[in-house]
């Protein structure tokens, strides 16, 4: 099979490693001040001001069903846009960003995941790298969940 390289950005949630497609990522920010928005889903923390744009932030940890959430110095916001439009920008809060790496799509294995308590249940696949299994999140599903 022909090699199909893709670039991924990996991050931690509750000591597990996940990844997004780098091409969809617009910014990585420190987790800091944000403004609450009333009457929205629990994991939608609020909005932040990014270069004059109002961007909602969603806690990916809550979406994944993590019970105990601890904000540290490493906690970060990954700002993504699934269709490249400014209107679709959204920030996901994660425990920490690990690295950007290239991989061959052919190396992806089916994710073994038995539908736990989280809202995100489908993955594009998993890849073994270093000592970790990295689960590649399907951003479209992720974003659809927020939009629901």
């Amino acid at each position: 099979m022909k090699e199909q390289m893709t670039s991924l950005i990996s991050f931690y949630i509750n000591k597990e490693v996940f990844a997004f497609d780098t091409l969809k990522v617009r910014n990585i920010l420190e987790f800091g001040q944000y403004t609450n928005v009333p009457n929205v889903k629990e994991y939608l923390l609020g909005v932040i001001n990014l270069h004059g744009n109002i961007i909602p932030i969603a806690d990916l940890r809550v979406m994944m069903g993590v019970d105990v959430i601890e904000n540290t110095q490493d906690t970060a916001i990954i700002v993504v846009s699934d269709d490249g439009k400014t209107d679709s920008l959204i920030g996901f809060v994660v425990d920490g960003v690990k690295e950007v790496f290239d991989m061959d799509l052919a190396a992806l294995q089916e994710s073994v995941f038995n539908g736990n308590s989280g809202l995100i249940n489908t993955f594009i696949g998993s890849v073994y790298r270093g000592e970790d299994f990295i689960h590649v999140i399907d951003l479209v599903e992720c974003v659809q969940e927020v939009e629901k």
Binding site: Q33, T35, P38, I48, G52, I54, A58, D87, V146
Partner: protein, 684 residues
């Protein structure tokens, strides 16, 4: 090759521009035509129509819309005659022109026709157009077709075409034959109508006219005869060759022809034979062409792409935000130099902002043409007689608002024509004038624009609405509703008063869609109606989407902006007597008002220590209080969209970035109160 490609690209660009400009011209044309319908003798309007057609024709030829150019040319002929008082405007002409405009739009969309069916249709249409310009007039001079054959192989013929009285009875149209002759080359047609009898003796389908044609063509006599092959038995044809070359260019011949027309005396072969063909045809031709190309040229406005304006408005919004930050910093810093600089920048950026927003405003007028057309066409189709009156068409609105407005308005007006105004017979029975009226009214009211669509039709019965809403489970049987609340039910999704789907307005899109669309631009819709008297739809729209005067308030840890336009009064809590908290009613100056505790609606922890303030806001025809922790002050703010993921949050219409970079959310009070009120009525 490369240069060629660039040229191609440039021409394509010009084409796009031409289409855009032509659409403007067509708009203008339609508008003028509607005016002409009411005032058929107005010379200014006729001139306007002629000019618009002329630009269409000229532009069409230049950018390769040849069919369009040819077609418009024939149409223009009619108005040229009208312009010169040779033709009277009547309903046929106006209807034909409207139809022709649709055809022109089609041609603009398609470019030159390829489909043989369509080409034939266009030909037929042109014939109809020509029929109008020719039957109303004794002599018609048809200008040369673009592909005139001027080489020396051509000959000039005199054709005597005398159809008998019966020719029209078998469906022959002599004009088609003349068209065919025109298509062969350069023709001058003379019509002689001296045989037309008086009215008493006139057979309406008899033919009494004879023609003479001076034809310059490179085709042979036999080819000319072929034109008349099917009518040989119904007419006498006499073809004589006058000379080689184009005799029509000869000044003497022109004179002879025009004399013959004036005196209605047929041309004789001897008159024309022996006259020579002028040598300098090239020269006279090019000169006459040039004259046509000269047109008025005046630049009073320029065309800018809308994305550029959006970008400008965005940048100015940014600037205003940064400027507010600068002011804050300057005040803190206290340096007199910086303070005065900041002040100047504030002044400038305000002016810049006002200017930029003004640029993005366009008059409502531009869309109204479509509505005029809609009412006219639809009422004719439905057999109704409706006057469509527009007031306040010069009101200007943000182009983004107008874009969102067209579809809902089309729907509303369609409803009025289809369901509102009755048929003439029905109207007479109800003691009304057979002619219905739909009024479109727009006017400023504070920071908003009100648009009303009023009809004097049959109206809507509130009892029927209630019945239907109960049947559909939208409301509880026992709920008592005010008239206004009843009419509001119409906007709920899943509500549509007409049972059967009508061809016109019942395409499954209900008033709920109208409401939603208007809501998207922060507007409000309401309906009022009186049975037998008519229905009024009112739209309240913001002037611009991106900037509002707001009141900054605090609820728990968050700051919110309430649009000042909606605010009636602010009360401190001590002057306010609370009724039972359970009822959410408050007494102010011996009047009771319902109120909404924002801490409660925003799910913040409850707190009542007497420092709260109550803001009375207008909601439709009532006033409702909003309880906040603290009023911070007035604030002019640039409203930004919250993006696609927070659209569900309906009570917040946007957010605004404060001078220090923090965010405050803009409350849509109408929606907030509406949603609160709806909770009361929902059965589920």
């Amino acid at each position: 090759m490369f240069v060629y490609l660039m040229l191609e690209a440039m021409i394509d660009k010009f084409k796009v521009k031409f289409v855009e400009e032509s659409l403007d011209n067509i708009n203008d044309l339609e508008e003028a035509l509607l005016l002409l319908e009411k005032d058929t003798k107005n010379h200014e309007i006729i001139e306007r129509i002629f000019r618009a057609m002329h630009s269409l024709k000229g532009g069409g030829a230049m950018f390769g819309f040849n069919d369009l150019s040819e077609f418009t040319h024939h149409l223009e002929t009619i108005f040229d005659l009208v312009r010169n008082d040779k033709l009277q405007v009547d309903n046929t002409i106006i209807s034909l022109t409207f139809e022709a405009i649709d055809h022109i739009k089609h041609l603009l969309d398609r470019g030159d026709l390829v489909d043989p069916e369509e080409i034939k249709e266009q030909k037929d249409f042109i014939a109809r157009v020509q029929l109008v310009s020719e039957t109303n007039q004794e002599i018609t001079k048809v200008a040369e077709l673009p592909n005139v054959i001027t080489d020396d192989g051509s000959n000039t013929f005199l054709i005597n075409f005398k159809p008998n009285e019966e020719i029209l009875r078998n469906g022959t149209n002599p004009f088609y034959l003349l068209d065919d002759l025109h298509a062969m080359g350069n023709a001058q047609v003379l019509a002689f109508s001296s045989k037309v009898p008086g009215l008493e003796e006139l057979d309406p389908i008899g033919n009494y006219v004879e023609w003479q044609i001076v034809l310059n063509t490179s085709e042979s006599v036999n080819d000319i005869k072929d034109v008349f092959i099917f009518v040989e038995d119904e007419c006498s044809i006499d073809i004589t060759k006058l000379s080689a070359g184009n005799l029509l260019e000869n000044e003497d011949v022109k004179l002879i022809i025009s004399e013959a027309i004036d005196q209605q005396k047929p041309l004789l072969v001897d008159q024309l034979k022996g006259l020579s063909v002028p040598k300098n045809t090239e020269f006279t031709k090019s000169e006459s062409k040039k004259k046509v190309q000269l047109k008025e040229h005046k630049i009073s406005s320029i065309r800018v792409s809308s994305t550029k304006i959006d970008e400008l408005v965005n940048l100015v919004s940014e600037l205003v935000t940064i400027q507010a930050q600068l002011n804050l910093y300057a005040e803190k810093d206290g340096n007199a130099g910086i303070l005065s600089l900041a002040e100047n920048i504030q002044k400038l950026s305000r002016q810049l902002r006002d200017n930029a927003f003004e640029i993005s405003l366009i008059p409502l007028q531009s869309e109204l043409m479509r509505f005029q057309r809609l009412v006219r066409d639809l009422s004719k189709e439905l057999g109704k007689d409706i006057d469509f009156i527009i007031e306040g068409g010069d009101i200007e609105l943000d182009k983004n608002i107008i874009e969102h407005l067209t579809d809902p308005l089309l729907h509303i007006i369609r409803n009025s024509v289809d369901h509102g105004v009755e048929l003439p017979a029905e109207r007479i029975k109800a003691g009304k004038s057979p002619k219905g009226t739909i009024i479109f009214k727009a006017f400023y009211s504070g920071a908003s624009v009100i648009v009303k669509v009023l009809d004097d039709g049959r109206g809507i019965n509130p009892d029927q609405i209630v019945k239907k809403a109960i049947a559909k489970g939208l409301i509880d049987k026992n709920v008592e509703l005010s008239k206004k609340e009843i009419f509001d039910l119409v906007f709920l999704s899943g509500f549509s008063t007409k049972e059967q789907v009508s061809d016109v307005s019942g395409r499954g899109v209900g008033m709920d869609v109208v409401k939603k669309k208007i809501g998207e631009i922060r507007g409000e819709v309401s309906l009022d109606s009186e049975v037998g008297k008519g229905t009024t739809l009112t739209l309240e729209l913001p002037l611009t989407l991106s900037i509002i005067d707001g009141l900054l308030v605090k609820v728990a840890n968050n700051q919110y902006v309430i649009p000042i336009a909606n605010i009636e009064k602010i009360h401190a809590m001590d002057s306010v007597k609370f009724g039972s908290t359970f009822n959410h009613v408050v007494t102010i100056e011996e009047k009771q008002f319902p109120y909404i505790d924002l801490r409660e609606t925003f799910n913040e922890t409850a707190k009542k220590d007497g420092s709260e303030q109550l803001i009375l806001v207008k909601y439709e025809d009532r006033k409702v209080g909003l309880m906040v922790d603290q009023v911070i002050g007035e604030y002019q703010t640039v409203v930004k969209a919250m993006g696609r993921f927070l659209k569900k949050q309906e009570t917040i219409s946007g957010a605004s970035i404060m001078g220090d970079g923090t965010i405050s959310m803009v409350i849509d009070t109408n929606r907030l109160i509406h949603l609160n009120a709806m909770k009361k009525y929902r059965t589920s």
